[in-house]
Point group: D2
Chain length 377, copies 4
């Protein structure tokens, strides 16, 4: 079986999640390639070495350029801050590596497009870490929709709300600046719910958005009295229209008190409704309007071995799956796609499609008008 | 104690709810006036007589004009289809009656304004049946917000979704025509959530709306193959901005499969969040962000005798309150306001304010632009 | 239509609920007799007069013996403390009155039996206020079970838990003494869940109970340092076996922190499960095991006009019903039963059956053994 | 760092869960020993080899006796059917291996005692796979209780209900026979909830149980008309008393329609209540009775990085943890305990304590009386 050597750049919160996925995936799934945890890159050699050992990787480096240039690396996995994604990906592509990048793919749709084009030209495979669509519960929703069990979709309401910046005294960080993060809650969080909307409904064609920076400045550091300006939005809402004619709303916030993983959606069809929140990631609520009038009601389906991918993790419904499990599905798709040279999804193209919707929402707000997604390139 | 004679026009679903409220309110609350169930008007004398007897009213008539002209009637209660509200109210006002009208107050904001002005000129009292704000749970929410327990409000998301027209073969009826209903889901349902938004947050200043008629035509009657055009929207969404700076979204639908009383809202503040659905009308969810980080979480408060108005109904929390109980609070406010000649709320002015927001949403959709509510008169 | 004159004894929390039911029932339901709110009895004439006026009754008295002897009264409604039920009911029966008593019927099964026998001999009708079984949601559960939708019942778990005595400094009151209350949580609360078990499953044949007084003494009054002994149980649990072969557990507590109306039950059958809590009295959860394995899950049914009795209150599901509404169903059954001289349910016989199960649980605990309900008379 | 070589016997559903835990644990946690996935034993060499490869183990064997005798193996992990636990464990202990066994430890408490004694004599470490107590949410509950946040515990209600045998036509299997499974639902499922009760409350002192075999015989195979007798209980209930004076109930069922992972408990204290269901394994409900009367209510705490062990898995609350993650905590405790030669918990002693409570419940049922746990040895 072909070996696939992974080079991981960045070992913060999300890099760690990737590492756990690399550790467990070969035991969970029968992979089509042999996953090798090869090299870790961090900001200095010491940290890189420490993390390589903790994460079960063979080698380490304090210079990511060394990693992307290493002839033994097949896949470059980018878990660095957003503003570095583009440079790292382009460099990796230049060396002919497959690239697996965290979301958002880039700070702007234009940057994302450049990355898509480079990958296509180089003939390398790509993947973006929109892991929530790899949740077996999301796959079950997709199956129910595809079966026509809720009829034609007429409405989508989705959010990605969290409260990590809810406290006005939470210090400023790179997520709050245009040159390091690009958009605010839209880029950091809404990317996921836009991806879900496109996955479960259809492509979004037009948007009309509203953005707001509620906390205008934040302490430079915890306890500091020096305040620094916040440059991007804390919350945003957008009316959306889909290619299939459905309408709806997407909202996002990083100051939504009480939402710890508020990726939620309600999809209404002509014959039923599905509803979901990632905070209860193993539950899907299904309503069928064609049930007898006196036996109608939302049903809570616990994801289990009868549903997509779940049986690889657990023997029974209700045992529960976690965040890292959906990352394992993602890594499985990555490895199998590369090993068999078949398309991986979601790829950079999907990352770009998400980015241009986010850009369209921001443009719509700036110009106070409806914007066609096709206006953005 | 002063007698207050009620004349009830219309005895359908909502007229019946008013009748139950008239029956129980004097026992539930110590009223400041003596409520007399005096006269019922219906489309013919037989039906009127039957309903008067069933509802415990003394007299009946097949002609509403007789009721509004009757010198013994003090309050005219309008529970007829929407398109009759204006004519009946103006005629009642002309006879110097106080008027209690179901929502929406009129088919357009302009009509509503005419009613407000007539009532002011005549010096009569008015009330609109936005009963959901009379729910003790809503009053509790208002109290929590006023206390500053969730800080400054930064976001509102509200819906009034139902599924009574979800089946495409549900026959056409007066709610679907412009000349009998005016707007569709917006007028029939969203009036309530707009009223709640204004009650709990502040006045709405600008809107940007999207409307859609999903089921373009419906059978003339059940089983009929003759299809009749639907003239107003099945669903609508709107971005909103409030005077206090908060932003948010309002949505409404009459085809939202599974929603039986989908009046829901989430109000996010700088220090906490409140969340509510009328389908669980006795529960309020409260999140406090200033709780210790390891003891944060939404708390479900069951409305009880420690909260506004509830103790008049039941001795203990968890006993539960129903739709008709909130109508009893409404009738108490009506009777007490008239008996003591003090302002009643929500009055026709509030009904007009709601109507113009609905009109602004519809205009915004027609012209594909943000609309200031003040553009509508 | 025959007039049925009500004489109400006791106007505390539950007497008030009866009064509200008398007020609204004739408007809610088309009754078969004309309900007359005739006389109120209280501990002194002033209070009686005040309450008669507040509750819309014609007459009042400071002496309940006057009420039960009054020739114009047809129904004596007993809402006094438990220890007075027996004396008042026997006296009312002696005067040939129909009797409507709150639960528990008496302090012991033996007393209850005496009341049953007296009523039978006198040929009067009786009713016990087990109002939770009048909730349309409970009627829906009964219908689902009777239809065989969940198969044969194999297990019942039920509670009636509240927290009104949870604070150890809550002062002593009559519920805590043997001579005024008889049993503690069992008599005050568990009576309801035992009644529900018998209603929804079948008669209980044997029990094995455990009782505990957690707070052994309480302040004589709020703030007092004088402590008075608590004479009956704060909490109790019992294994039960039903005549139909099913097994299960009943639990009760008056110190169950957080339970405001913790009347809950789960009924498991060979083909499905029903689950309910009175704190969400308009919701029934139904699980069907014969659904396809990948579409199984508990369904939340909102009680609505398609279900028993509900349509008389509201036009749509989700509008919600409250505690007083189930009392209205109870009063309807009372009035119709008397007006047409047909059996009323639950009658004193059912009250006695509940009492002897409670006595059997207490005996079982005292003797540390399983007890057949038939051992109690 | 010391190497700890694992020998895994059995690769069915639960052996697979162990394998996944072995794969991810070294990346999740900084372990104190080097975990080596060394050898897999299965019923034949081919299957063993296949699974060793799939699970990332170095070696394999078709004879478990070879594994337990192998000098390089330090820990024997027993994931075989229940009736083999004792023989395998004793043999492993005889070879001086540490033993990690799935629950129930043995078919009877007497067998379990023999295993405890053997391990003590041999001086080897032991662990039983009561993984649900390793859930960070359970650890949070323990912390809240230990802090006294809910006061003194007065009541425990716990279940472990599933529905894997609910269908009467589900074929017979080894769980249904005395000589292969011992007890039925009690042994297979209730072991977990008994362990939780002891962990969160205190040791159980006396029990009174009721057992029932609802489905008396089952098809020999799917579709077969030959019926085979079921030899142990489908469901059981028991009254329990704890050493600390608290009372309560434990129930279990393998035919509880709709329960997929119905490990649930409610713990009531003098100052508050905790409630949990494993089907929502990342949520803990907490009620504080000392909150102001108008702000009381159950709070839903989403387990997160502020709580025990969670931060090793995910960076934020609400991301979610799964069944395999609690197995990873278990494996961490195993490896660290062995590496540092410090006590591991839960050990065989705890497994024996659970077994004798289960035996006491069965004895209580057989003899229809309360049984002291100390009667069982």
């Amino acid at each position: 079986m072909k070996e696939i050597h992974i080079g991981l750049i960045g070992t913060g919160y999300i890099g760690r999640a990737h590492a756990i996925a690399y550790a467990q995936t070969p035991t969970v799934f029968p992979l089509k390639g042999k996953l090798i945890r090869d090299m870790v890159a961090e900001v200095n050699p010491q940290l890189a070495a420490e993390r390589a050992q903790a994460f079960g990787f063979n080698r380490s480096t304090g210079d990511w350029r060394e990693l992307v240039a290493d002839p033994n690396i097949h896949v470059v996995d980018i878990c660095s801050p957003n503003y570095l994604h583009k440079e790292m990906a382009l460099e990796a592509i230049r060396h002919g590596k497959h690239v697996y990048s965290e979301k958002p793919l880039a700070l702007t749709a234009a940057d994302a497009r450049e990355m898509v084009d480079a990958a296509k030209q180089a003939g390398v495979q790509t993947m973006v870490g929109f892991n929530y669509m790899k949740n077996p519960t999301a796959s079950l929703a997709k199956e129910i929709i595809s079966n026509g069990e809720i009829g034609e979709i007429v409405h989508f309401y989705g959010t990605h709300n969290e409260d990590y910046m809810a406290d006005p005294l939470e210090p400023i960080h790179w997520h709050c600046f245009k040159n390091t993060a690009g958009l605010g809650a839209l880029g950091d969080l809404a990317a996921h719910i836009v991806n879900m909307a496109q996955y479960l409904v259809s492509d979004i064609s037009t948007v009309c958005g509203d953005l707001q920076t509620v906390v205008k400045s934040r302490p430079e550091q915890a306890g500091s009295s020096k305040m620094v300006e916040v440059e991007n939005e804390d919350q945003a809402s957008a009316l959306i229209r889909f290619n299939n004619g459905a309408m709806g709303v997407i909202e996002t916030s990083r100051i939504a008190c009480g939402r710890k993983m508020g990726l939620t959606w309600v999809i209404t069809g002509t014959k039923g409704t599905l509803s979901f929140t990632q905070e209860r990631m193993a539950e899907l609520k299904l309503y069928r309007h064609d049930a007898p009038a006196n036996r109608q009601g939302f049903q809570t389906i616990l994801v289990g071995p009868e549903h997509p991918d779940y049986a690889w993790f657990c023997g029974g419904a209700g045992h529960g799956i976690g965040f890292n499990d959906q990352k394992a599905v993602e890594v499985r798709d990555l490895i199998n796609g590369i090993a068999t040279n078949t398309p991986i999804w979601p790829d950079f193209e999907e990352g770009w499609k998400v980015s241009r919707i986010l850009d369209a929402i921001a443009l719509s707000h700036a110009e106070e008008r409806w914007v066609k997604v096709s206006e953005i390139r």
